[in-house]
C-alpha cells in the first residue's frame, strides 16, 4: 500500500512542479537557518571541560573599600595579588591555581627568527592537572618551581611547530622578553571554549601559546594582558606593568571533589574575609561567591546577545515557512477534494485517505529536511568565514545532527498532518456532486 501511496504522491507532486519546489525550498530554508543559528548557540553555550567542569570552582571575595557599597552587590570578578597568594598558599582545596593573562615576545634561542608576540598565561603549577591540559611531551612544573621562580615554560603544540618543527623540544630553550627559559612540557591541542578561566581576554577562540610560572613572570616584569578593576588609591586603573594593591586583576580557580568540600571551602572564604577584616585589610562584611564553571559562564553571560537574536529570528522564519507550506499543502489537498470524495465513496476509509495524503506531505517534508541539513552545512561554512571570534567553532556535532533530524521530522509531521487531517474531513457525497 505504501508503494502505491508513494507513487500517487510523486505523481501529484510532479503535476505542480513549481509549487512542490516552493514548498520544499521553504522548509529547507527554514530548517537550514534555524539549524545554523541553533548550532552556533549550542557551541557557544557548551561545556568547556566536559566531565571536569562540575568540580572546578571560582571563588570570589570582596576586598573593596566601603565607598559605593550596595546591599546584595556581587564581589569583584577577580582577586588582588595578596588575596590570590594567600588563598593559594592556604591550600584548602584539592587543587588551586592563581593566574593572569600575558602578552610576551618569543624568540627561538638561535635568534635567527624575528621575535613575535604570543598570548601567554602566567599561572601556578596546579593549572595543568586541575584543568586536565593534555601534554604531548614532558609535563608541567611543580609548586617548588613556582616558589623558586624557575625559568620553566610550557608551550603549546602550535608554537612547538613554529619554533621546533613539532619535534620533542623538552629540555631545549627559548627566549621570552630576552630571557632564556627551559621548556619542560609541550601541550597537545587544547583550547577550552569558552575561555572560561579568564573571560577578560575574550570569551571564544582564545588560546595561550606559552605558560610561565606566575611568580617568575612577575619577577621578570613580563607584560600582562587583561582587565583590572581598582578602587581608592588605585582608582583610574593606571600603573606601571602591574596594578597596585587596591586592584583586582588575577583569576583564582580551585578544584573541589565533593559537595562537602564545596561547603567547607565556602566557609573558609567567609573565615578568610573575617580574618582580613580583623586585620584591617578588608572593610566590608564577608561577601563571597563560589560558582562552578557552568554557573560562572551563565553568570557572566558569555553567549553574545546577537547570537540569541539570530536564533530567534531563524525560528521566526521557520515558523513562517511552515505556515506557508501548510497553507499551500491544504489548498492543494482541497483542490483534489473531488478525487478524495470518489475514493471515499468507493470504500476507502478516512484512515487510508489520511495515510495517502500524509505520504505526500511527508515526501515534501523529508526532502525539505535533507535540503535543510545541506543548507545548515552551507550556513555554518558561511559563519566560519565571518570575522567573529567564535567563527571557527561553528561545526555540526552528533547531538546537533540528531536535533536537525528531529526538527525536520517534526516540521514535516506538523506541515503534513494538519492539511491531511483537514482534507479527510470532507464528506464524500458533497464532492461527488458536480460543481
Amino acid at each position: 500500500m505504501f508503494g502505491y501511496y508513494l507513487d500517487l504522491a510523486l505523481r501529484s507532486l510532479r503535476r505542480n512542479k513549481a509549487l512542490t519546489v516552493l514548498m520544499v525550498l521553504a522548509i529547507a530554508l527554514g530548517i537550514g537557518a534555524s539549524m545554523t543559528t541553533l548550532t552556533v548557540l549550542h557551541v557557544l553555550s557548551g561545556d568547556p571541560l566536559p566531565g571536569r567542569s562540575d568540580t572546578l570552582y571560582y571563588p570570589q571575595i570582596d576586598p573593596r573599600d566601603d565607598s559605593g557599597q550596595m546591599p546584595g552587590e556581587e564581589p569583584p570578578e577577580q582577586v588582588t595579588l595578596i588575596d590570590g597568594l594567600n588563598l593559594l598558599h592556604a591550600k584548602r582545596a584539592d587543587r588551586q591555581a592563581l593566574m593572569t593573562g600575558g602578552y610576551v615576545p618569543v624568540q627561538s634561542d638561535s635568534a635567527v627568527v624575528d621575535p613575535f608576540y604570543v598570548e601567554a598565561r602566567f599561572t601556578t603549577a596546579d593549572f595543568f592537572p586541575m584543568f586536565g591540559a593534555p601534554f604531548r611531551y614532558g609535563r608541567g612544573w611543580n609548586a617548588f618551581d613556582d616558589e623558586t621562580r624557575a625559568r620553566d615554560v610550557v608551550i603549546n603544540g602550535e608554537l612547538n611547530g613554529r619554533l621546533f618543527g613539532g619535534a620533542d623540544s623538552v629540555g631545549r630553550t627559548l627566549r621570552i622578553a630576552d630571557t632564556r627559559f627551559r621548556i619542560v612540557g609541550v601541550l597537545d591541542d587544547w583550547a577550552p571554549n569558552p575561555h572560561f578561566y579568564d573571560l577578560n581576554t575574550g570569551s571564544f577562540g582564545r588560546t595561550e601559546q606559552v605558560f610561565v610560572p606566575l611568580q617568575t613572570a612577575m619577577g621578570l616584569k613580563l607584560e600582562r594582558h587583561g582587565s583590572n578593576d581598582c578602587w581608592g588609591k588605585g582608582a583610574g586603573g593606571v600603573g606601571r606593568i602591574y596594578p597596585g594593591e587596591s586592584c583586582v586583576w588575577l583569576q583564582f580557580w580551585v578544584q573541589l571533589d565533593s559537595a562537602a568540600k564545596v561547603a567547607a571551602y565556602e566557609q573558609f572564604l567567609v573565615h578568610y574575609s573575617q580574618e582580613q577584616k580583623a586585620l584591617g585589610r578588608f572593610v566590608r562584611p564577608p561577601n563571597v561567591r563560589l560558582r562552578n564553571v557552568m554557573q560562572w559562564l551563565a553568570h557572566e553571560k558569555v553567549v553574545p546577545d546577537d547570537v540569541r537574536l539570530q536564533t530567534g529570528l531563524a525560528f521566526g522564519f521557520l515558523l513562517v515557512c511552515l505556515v506557508n507550506t501548510i497553507g499551500l499543502m491544504l489548498a492543494k489537498f482541497m483542490r483534489r477534494a473531488a478525487d478524495l470524495g470518489v475514493r471515499r465513496a468507493l470504500g476507502a476509509s478516512k484512515r487510508s485517505l489520511f495515510a495517502q495524503l500524509l505520504v505526500e506531505s511527508g515526501v515534501v517534508g523529508i526532502v525539505g529536511g535533507v535540503g535543510g541539513l545541506l543548507l545548515a552545512g552551507l550556513g555554518l561554512w558561511a559563519v566560519r568565514q565571518r570575522p567573529s571570534s567564535y567563527a571557527a567553532l561553528a561545526h555540526l556535532d552528533g547531538s546537533m545532527l540528531l536535533v536537525t533530524f528531529a526538527l525536520a521530522l517534526g516540521s514535516t509531521l506538523v506541515a503534513g498532518m494538519l492539511p491531511a487531517w483537514r482534507a479527510c474531513q470532507v464528506p464524500p457525497a458533497l464532492q461527488l456532486k458536480s460543481n
Binding site: L19, A177, G236, L313, F317, N324, I326, M334
Partner: protein
C-alpha cells in the same frame, strides 16, 4: 466593490484563509522589528568620534625586552615619526576612540560621594586636541608643561604630595551636561576617587574606546599624564587624508629602523579602526536584511501559490460571473480586494505581535521601544507585496473566458 461575496467565499476556505493571515501577521511583526533593529545598528555605526578620522593613522609598537626609560623612548619615537615626510602632527595616547581596549574611571562630584555619578573614558597624553582634530568649545586644552610622566604622577599620588601635579582636565560637552545639567562646567571640580581635578576646557565630542552604548559613548576626559612607550599605547599620526597610506608605511619603516628588534603590533588607518569596531553590527545588519528579504519572498510566493489554487478552483464560478456580465476588470478587482482584505487582517494582527516581540526584546536585550513610525513600514511592505503577488493569478482569473460557464467539469 461589494465585500459580501468575498467574505462568503473566504468563509468556505476558513483554514486556508487563516493560515495566510497568520503568515502575513508573522512576517509583518518580524519585518517591523527587523527594520527597527537594522536602523538601530546603522545609527550606532554612524557614531561620531569627534576626531578627524580621515586624517589619522594608528601605530602600536611592542618591545622585546623591558626598556630602561619608556618616557625617553616615547619622545624619541615621536621625534622619529615627526621627521617622516607628510606627518603634520604625532602624539602618544593610552587609548583611541573605538579602539576597543579601554581605560576608564568612575567620576564623582564630591570626594565623599558613595556612588559614582558616571563612568568616563580617561585619555592621557600631550597635545591630544590639536593632533586628533578635536573641537574646543570653551576654556583651553591642557598645556604641555602640565602633562607629567605617569611615574611622577603615580608617585606623587601615592605619597599624597599633590603639589607637583597639575590637577586639571578637559571633558566632553556630553559629560559636562550630564554632570551639571544646563550649568557651566569650566572651573568646576570632579573627583576620580579621592583625586580632585578642575575642568579647564570643554570639547565638543570625543568618543570612548569602548563606545558600545550610545548613551554613554561621549563620556570622555583628558588628563595630564604622559604614559611613555608600551604595547598598549598608540602613536596617533595626523597627515593629509590622501597621503595616509604612504605616511603609515613610512612611519612604520622609520620606527623599525630606529630599533629593528621591536615588533609593530598594530598599523592601521582610522577607517580600519572604525570598520573593525563596528564589524559585528555590520554583519548583524546584513543578516537582518537577508532575513527580511527571505521572509518577504517566501510570503509573496505563498500568496502566489494560494491565489493560483483559488483561481483554478473557481474557474467555473468566474466563468459564470463573466457570462452574467462581469467585466475582466471586475474579476481582477475581486481578487485584489480579497488579498487586500486578508493582508489587512494579517497586518492588524501583525502590529499587535510586533509590539509583543518588541516588549520581549526590550526585556531581554538592550533595545529601545519600537517607535510608531515602524508600524506603517511593515504594513505598507505587506500590502505592496500582497498586491504584487496576487496580480499574476488575478490577471489569469480575469482572462477566464465566459464560455467556461457552459462547460461541465
Amino acid at each position: 466593490m461589494e465585500l459580501r461575496p468575498i467574505l462568503s467565499t473566504l468563509r468556505r476556505h476558513k483554514t486556508t484563509a487563516w493560515l495566510l493571515i497568520l503568515e502575513i501577521a508573522l512576517t509583518c511583526a518580524i519585518v517591523c522589528n527587523a527594520v527597527f533593529m537594522i536602523n538601530h545598528r546603522l545609527q550606532h555605526m554612524q557614531m561620531s568620534t569627534g576626531i578627524d578620522e580621515h586624517a589619522l593613522v594608528q601605530i602600536q609598537v611592542a618591545e622585546v625586552a623591558p626598556l630602561p626609560d619608556i618616557y625617553a623612548r616615547a619622545r624619541e619615537d615621536l621625534a622619529v615619526i615627526r621627521q617622516v615626510p607628510g606627518v603634520q602632527a604625532a602624539t602618544l595616547v593610552n587609548q583611541v576612540p573605538l579602539g576597543a581596549s579601554s581605560s576608564n574611571a568612575n567620576i564623582m562630584l564630591e570626594p565623599t560621594q558613595r556612588q559614582p555619578t558616571l563612568n568616563a573614558g580617561t585619555y592621557f597624553g600631550v597635545d591630544l586636541g590639536p593632533t586628533m582634530g578635536l573641537r574646543l568649545l570653551a576654556g583651553r586644552y591642557l598645556r604641555p608643561e602640565e602633562v607629567l610622566d605617569s611615574d611622577v604622577v603615580l608617585k606623587a599620588l601615592a605619597d599624597g604630595d599633590t603639589k607637583v601635579i597639575a590637577p586639571v582636565t578637559v571633558i566632553t560637552q556630553a559629560m559636562a551636561q550630564r554632570l551639571w545639567p544646563g550649568g557651566e562646567a569650566l572651573g568646576k571640580m570632579v573627583y576620580l576617587g579621592p583625586i580632585g581635578v578642575r575642568v579647564v576646557g570643554v570639547i565638543e565630542q570625543l568618543a570612548r574606546a569602548n563606545a558600545y552604548d550610545d548613551a554613554t559613548a561621549q563620556y570622555s576626559m583628558i588628563l595630564p599624564m604622559f604614559m611613555g612607550a608600551g604595547k598598549d599605547q598608540s602613536y596617533l599620526i595626523r597627515t593629509h587624508p590622501q597621503d595616509r597610506h604612504a605616511v603609515l608605511k613610512a612611519a612604520v619603516a622609520a620606527l623599525k629602523k630606529a630599533d629593528p628588534r621591536r615588533v609593530v603590533t598594530t598599523q592601521r588607518t582610522y577607517d580600519e579602526v572604525r570598520e573593525k569596531f563596528f564589524e559585528n553590527d555590520r554583519s548583524m545588519a546584513g543578516i537582518l536584511v537577508g532575513a527580511i528579504a527571505a521572509l518577504l519572498i517566501v510570503t509573496a510566493l505563498g500568496i502566489v501559490g494560494l491565489a493560483s489554487f483559488w483561481v483554478a478552483q473557481r474557474r467555473r464560478t468566474i466563468g459564470v460571473r463573466r457570462a452574467l456580465g462581469a467585466t475582466r476588470r471586475n474579476i481582477l478587482v475581486y481578487f485584489q480586494t480579497e488579498n487586500f482584505l486578508l493582508a489587512t487582517i494579517g497586518i492588524a494582527l501583525g502590529m499587535v505581535l510586533a509590539y509583543g516581540i518588541n516588549l520581549f526584546l526590550m526585556m531581554h536585550y538592550e533595545l529601545p521601544r519600537l517607535p510608531a513610525v515602524y508600524f506603517p513600514v511593515g504594513a505598507i511592505a505587506l500590502w505592496l507585496i500582497g498586491q504584487v503577488a496576487v496580480l499574476g493569478p488575478a490577471l489569469r482569473a480575469a482572462a477566464v473566458p465566459p464560455v467556461v460557464a457552459t462547460r461541465s467539469v
